[in-house]
């Protein structure tokens, strides 16, 4: 959308004020995320931009919080090793990866079923399978807290993994069903008529075509698990520290700037994931022959 050459002054004013407004909205969306990046390098123990920091005085900038994050912190001359952030990172990756693998496997198979033309009760099933994404986390957490403690799944990694898998599957179902719309079923028939069995057809024909959707669904499931704090808080024990749980504790109790360092790392991670998903989406569109305008 550009302004034609014959635009009146009024139209020009309107157009540029519209652009300014949009610019401000984009700024509102993006600025808070990037404000924490410089602050994580501050030596100050509070979340604030000190004058020294703004004047780039070397002593106001430091990596001490990053050092503390990876487990090295020094009080006076003695080096203290605090491992909780690294423990949280390990736990987050462990739970996240296992939950993602489970969610991807279950979700992909279900999406294949849902996309079949003969699927009975499709709408109802879809609504049920998507519901973990819609129900507020606090309700999910309450329900899981009651039920999982009955069957002894609270305070265990298994319980946490199952919970996160359930929360992640809707994303896989949605992305894979989206990839499957417009899937040419003749390809399956062709493969079968050439003598391939169902399994071979799946891995040789269907899988390569839907792979972009599967991977982006998996990444969504991963980030869901990686971000999730409410359920962890209620069904996890002290042992099951994850990054978000540690951040939450940090915010409620100590407000240590280590949180900002971890936040910076998480922003970097989300940029990486976003880039991957965007590239996959374009590849998938190219594969399916959807042209970009």
């Amino acid at each position: 959308m550009a302004l034609p050459t014959y635009a009146t002054t009024g139209q020009k004013v309107g157009y540029y004020s519209f652009l300014t407004y949009c610019g401000l909205v984009f700024f509102f969306l993006i600025a808070p995320i990037f404000i924490i990046l410089p602050l994580s390098f501050s030596a100050s123990p509070f979340f604030e931009f000190t004058r020294e920091f703004m004047n780039f005085e070397p002593e106001a900038w430091s990596l001490r919080w990053y050092r503390q994050m990876v487990g090295i912190s020094s009080i006076g001359d003695t080096t203290v090793v605090t491992d909780k952030w690294m423990l949280g990172t390990r736990n987050s990756f462990f739970v996240g990866i296992v939950a993602t693998l489970l969610a991807t496997a279950l979700g992909t198979v279900a999406a294949l079923g849902l996309s079949r033309p003969h699927m009975p009760f499709k709408a109802v099933l879809m609504a049920i399978l998507i519901s973990p994404m819609i129900v507020p986390l606090i309700i999910t957490a309450a329900g899981m807290f009651f039920f999982y403690s009955k069957i002894g799944l609270t305070h265990s990694y298994l319980g946490l993994i199952l919970a996160h898998t359930a929360l992640g599957t809707p994303f896989v179902v949605i992305t894979v069903t989206a990839t499957l719309t417009g899937f040419d079923t003749n390809l399956i028939r062709a493969s079968q008529s050439l003598g391939a069995d169902t399994i071979r057809t799946f891995f040789k024909i269907i899988m390569p075509l839907i792979l972009p959707g599967v991977i982006s669904g998996g990444l969504f499931a991963f980030i869901t698990s990686f971000d999730e704090v409410v359920v962890v808080m209620f069904i996890g024990s002290v042992e099951q520290i994850t990054i978000p749980k540690q951040m939450w504790a940090g915010l409620r109790q100590e407000t240590s700037p280590v949180i900002l360092c971890m936040a910076t790392c998480l922003v970097a991670l989300s940029i990486a994931l976003l880039t991957t998903v965007e590239m996959l989406r374009r590849r998938s569109e190219r594969l399916r022959g959807i042209k970009q305008r």
Binding site: M1, G14, Y21, V25, F28, L29, I30, I33, I36, L39, F47, F49, L106, G107, V109, A110, G113, R116, H118, M119, P120, L125, A127, I128, L129, I130, S131, P132, I134, V135, P136, L137, I138, I139, A141, A142, G143, M144, F145, F146, Y148, K150, A166, T169, I174, T177, D227, V229, V230, P244, M247, L251, I259, L266, S270, I271, L274, E278, Q292, R293
Partner: protein, 419 residues
């Protein structure tokens, strides 16, 4: 050509079965196959997600616990006419059941009894201790001598609310009502009416957030949809990056922005617009919740709006302008009606997510910004009044279901777009 077509009977396949039957059979096999593919996930969601939710719902009406502690008392209690004090028999059964049950069970039961009438908890605690000394009857006078609450008919009447194995009491509590001692529904005392205010506040915050998301999201979606692809893809990253960034990280970022020594206040002070001593209190109130939630939920508004606006052909607007409409008129008459599906999808989605929010109000809301989600967490973790927790959750869930159903009708659940 085909043999079977010459005969007058139904069309047959080569093995002599009518085609209709054969087709039906094939279709059934296909249906079963499709269903079998969905089955593992369905079973998984059922066990790990739906059953827990059901468990929570059952807790919101469950009132059996106290009946298992005082089964005999409730049996004889039923015979009481509720006029004068209960008979010696009721006192006697109560006495033995308090004396002989485990302290843990008494504790749990007394917590429940305290919801009906406060005072029961301390009464039972005291009685449990002192009953040990009493060896023989009559028990009525001795019990009243221990604590005169035993002689107060209101306490006995309050027990009547707990006779049934199910109760609506928690639901009443969740909307600031309660049973009085005669099991009539009455309003809570003035100073205990907190939940109706919370419900209204939750709706207000969610509506405001939806409104602001629309006001901020509509123009940028329009810009994204009308710009050439190479620019819009770049700007789209501004929308998608927050979407992919951890919720906690974004809330932390806002805490950095809004706190007393935060970025916004610092900027104002540094530019001499504000004196250092009267910095604004931007955090720990309802305004902060609305601001932060708007930023966090904005992508959920922009994505559905964008995907609808993308389908509106630019020729429509050109045609309207060509026919002499002013740009504003053309926008109002042509573009807006075409974008309504996106608006309704975005608004519903944002409202659905906002109404159950917990993390952000907890961190930036302070006392004034607490929503229903926070009360659920509070009762779950702090007061352990799980019945009330479950009933608040159930009401919230019912609202969500209605909204979810509306979303499904209007937008279609399979049209949710992620990125």
């Amino acid at each position: 050509m085909n043999q079977t077509q010459t005969s007058t009977g139904p069309i047959l396949t080569t093995d002599g079965i009518p085609l209709k039957v054969s087709l039906k059979k094939a279709e059934r096999i296909n249906k079963i196959r499709a269903f079998l593919l969905v089955l593992p996930l369905l079973a998984f969601i059922l066990i790990t997600f739906l059953v827990p939710i059901g468990d929570m719902l059952s807790r919101s009406v469950d009132d059996r616990q106290i009946n298992t502690v005082f089964p005999k008392t409730f049996e004889v209690y039923q015979k009481w006419d509720r006029q004068g004090l209960p008979s010696e028999e009721v006192y006697k059964t109560m006495f033995f059941e308090v004396k002989n049950s485990e302290g843990y069970n008494i504790g749990k039961a007394s917590t429940r009894m305290n919801y009906s009438k406060s005072g029961w908890k301390s009464l039972l605690k005291k009685s449990k201790r002192k009953f040990k000394k009493i060896e023989e009857g009559p028990y009525k006078e001795q019990m009243i001598a221990i604590d005169k609450k035993w002689g107060d008919i209101e306490y006995w009447k309050a027990l009547g609310q707990m006779v049934d194995p199910t109760t609506m009491g928690y639901y009443l509590n969740a909307v600031d009502l309660k049973y009085d001692s005669n099991k009539e529904i009455v309003q809570q005392k003035e100073n205990r009416r907190i939940y109706n205010k919370t419900w209204i506040k939750t709706f207000k915050v969610s509506l405001l957030v939806t409104l602001f998301c629309l006001l901020l999201g509509y123009p940028i979606s329009y810009l994204l949809a009308t710009l050439p692809m190479k620019y819009s893809n770049l700007l789209m990253i501004c929308v998608l990056l927050p979407f992919w960034t951890s919720l906690l990280v974004r809330t932390v970022a806002w805490m950095v922005m809004l706190q007393q020594k935060g970025v916004l206040n610092n900027l104002l002070v540094m530019s001499n617009l504000l004196a250092d001593e009267n910095r604004f209190q931007l955090m720990y109130n309802q305004t902060a919740v609305v601001i932060v939630m708007t930023q966090i939920l904005l992508p959920f508004m922009v994505l559905p709006l964008y995907s609808v606006m993308k389908t509106i052909s630019p020729t429509y607007m050109r045609a309207a302008l060509n026919l002499g409409a002013s740009p504003i008129h053309a926008f109002y008459k042509i573009y807006m009606p075409n974008s309504v599906p996106g608006v309704s999808a975005g608004c519903l989605l944002v409202f659905i997510i906002a109404i159950g929010y917990y993390i952000t109000p907890e961190l930036v809301g302070g006392k004034d910004g607490q929503m229903v989600g926070n009360w659920i967490a509070y009762h779950l973790k702090t007061t352990l009044n799980w019945g009330l927790c479950a009933s608040l959750g159930a009401i919230l869930l019912a609202m969500m279901t209605v909204l979810y159903w509306a979303y499904n009708k209007i937008v279609g659940i399979e049209n949710i777009k992620l990125g």
